[in-house]
Amino acid sequence: MRTAVPEFPEARLRELADRYAAAIAAKRRRVWLGAAVLIAVAIAAGWMGEVSLGNFVENFWRFPAYFVSIAPKFSFATAWSDLADWLWGLPRWARLLGDTLLIAYMGTLSGALCGFALCFLASANLVKSGTTVFVTRRVLEFFRTVPEIVFALIFVLAFGLGPLPGVLAIAIHTAGALGKQFAEVVENIDSKPVEGVAASGGSWVQVVRFGALPQVLSNFVSYALLRFEINVRGAAVMGFVGAGGIGQDLIEAVRKFYFTDVSAILLLIVLTVMLIDFLTERLRHRLLGLEGSTR
């Protein structure tokens, strides 16, 4: 079958080609301009941040050297006793790691409950009063913008050393972060069930319970699990400021140059974090899969 390929006259073709070239050139210019701005800002930031390539080149060998020095001494003949030497503090560290996980868990749970209570007040589609929404949002923003370590520093002074300030600091930060994410989920729900419950005479609490909650619960749990993952990392360094968990031992080992202890504790932390990541990811996939199947 023959088809006629329509061909433009020469002048029209040239015009189109020119326009294409101009568009490409404009895009190139934009990219170059963006790159120039980026480089300028990077140089300014480098000056501000005291970046010194000389220092970097001169001292970089210390970075791999540090890892070499914290590496445990192993010889093939005495592998078992070497391993026992390296992990000499395992019972203590395992207990501290358990504490770290518990701090993260308790912080996440109480923070998630707070965020859960606050998120409905921060969603514009459930609350009529603009002031309530605004105030709740600002409070949540404050909770999540102040880093948890700063809360922990202040709480350690108020409540004394130990896991309690760590739990509270993580809880507050989690309430802020989850409150915002929860509110975003709530604002994206289908409004029909909500209207249905309201139309058949439900109170505000009933509207939330039967209209909004069933739509958002699995997403909430998924976000909370993700936050738990993040909080495990956070709880691992809470001990840096005296707020419980394994961080205390880690910073002591680093500061006092107990090299092999550093590597042992770091390894334990990394393994724990990976395990938690793996487990929560499995759980989340199951949860979201379940949600998909019921739809």
Partner: protein
């Protein structure tokens, strides 16, 4: 229609037994779940030895601290200048850390993406490596780098680069894996080699996504850069930790206020930029 009025509930229940039957299996599962959650929490209270008697006293003291914080007051103009300089350091740490981490992570994330590198072993090694790097917190990286290049913001930049390298590597490779196959196949079928298909078929698709992730992390890194000063890696965290230790509460609240303003303005800027980038993509 009268049979659907609420007076006739018994009749409705009789006609639709499945809907009205109590699902004990489901209830039992929920009870176990809630019980386990609460039980673990109670176990935590016992195990961590949470001192409830200190809770009320601590709350009172916290209230005193808040009273002492108000109004925020930096003390003198010289202090303000010092704090602004520290804030500049913090923003620089976040900016260069994010940029460096992203630049380093881009090639590595290609190695970790299933649709770029077919070799399973390379992919697995890259992924586990990235996971290990990600498992170490920014503060710990900062501790290590302070030992390498000395105290100061440069150590902070390197620390943020390290932890972001792990995060971006994972995020980027996931973004690359969900990209459309068709453009890459198109490039290949018109005679391009594998590298061509990555460069012209894959990267243009994922680039806006990656950029928006980078912008998002710039904001979250600003938060973490405010604290790495606690271990001596520069920025405003150093000042903050110092003022908390010497109980200068008015300065503490001033610094917190400064952090709040900075983070929300960066949040605003990066939000605008992100919208511009993603918006452009949906138009094209």
């Amino acid at each position: 229609m009268s049979s659907f009025s609420f007076e006739n509930r018994a009749g409705i229940a009789q006609r639709y037994p499945d809907v009205f039957r109590t699902d004990w299996w489901q209830r039992g599962r929920i009870a176990i779940l809630v019980g386990g959650t609460v039980g673990l929490f109670l176990f935590g209270i016992v195990q961590l030895d949470i001192p409830f008697n200190r809770l009320s006293l601590g709350m009172v003291r916290l209230g005193e601290f808040v009273q002492l914080m108000l109004p925020p007051n930096p003390g003198s103009w010289a202090e303000v200048l010092k704090y602004l300089h520290a804030l500049g350091e913090t923003v620089s740490i976040a900016f260069l850390g994010t940029l460096g981490g992203a630049l380093l992570a881009l090639p590595v994330s290609l190695l970790a993406a299933r649709n770029v590198v077919a070799n399973r072993i390379i992919r697995l090694l890259t992924r586990r490596g990235l996971d290990t790097i990600r498992g170490v917190d920014t503060l710990i990286w900062a501790l290590i780098w302070v030992g390498v290049v000395g105290l100061g913001p440069f150590a902070g930049i390197l620390a943020v680069i390290c932890s972001d390298f792990g995060t971006f590597g994972k995020l980027f490779s996931e973004a690359i894996e969900v990209a459309e196959k068709n453009p890459a196949e198109g490039v290949r079928s018109s005679g391009g080699n594998h590298l061509h298909s990555v460069r012209f078929g894959l990267l243009p698709q994922v680039f806006p996504v990656l950029l928006s992730q980078v912008l998002y992390y710039f904001e979250s890194n600003t938060r973490s850069a405010t604290i790495i000063g606690i271990v001596g890696a520069g920025g405003i965290g150093l000042q903050l930790a110092e003022q908390i230790r010497v109980l200068e509460w008015q300065k503490v609240s001033f610094l917190i206020l400064l952090i709040l303003v900075t983070v929300s303005s960066i949040d605003w800027i990066s939000g605008k930029l992100r919208f511009a980038i993603i918006g452009k993509r949906t138009v094209a």
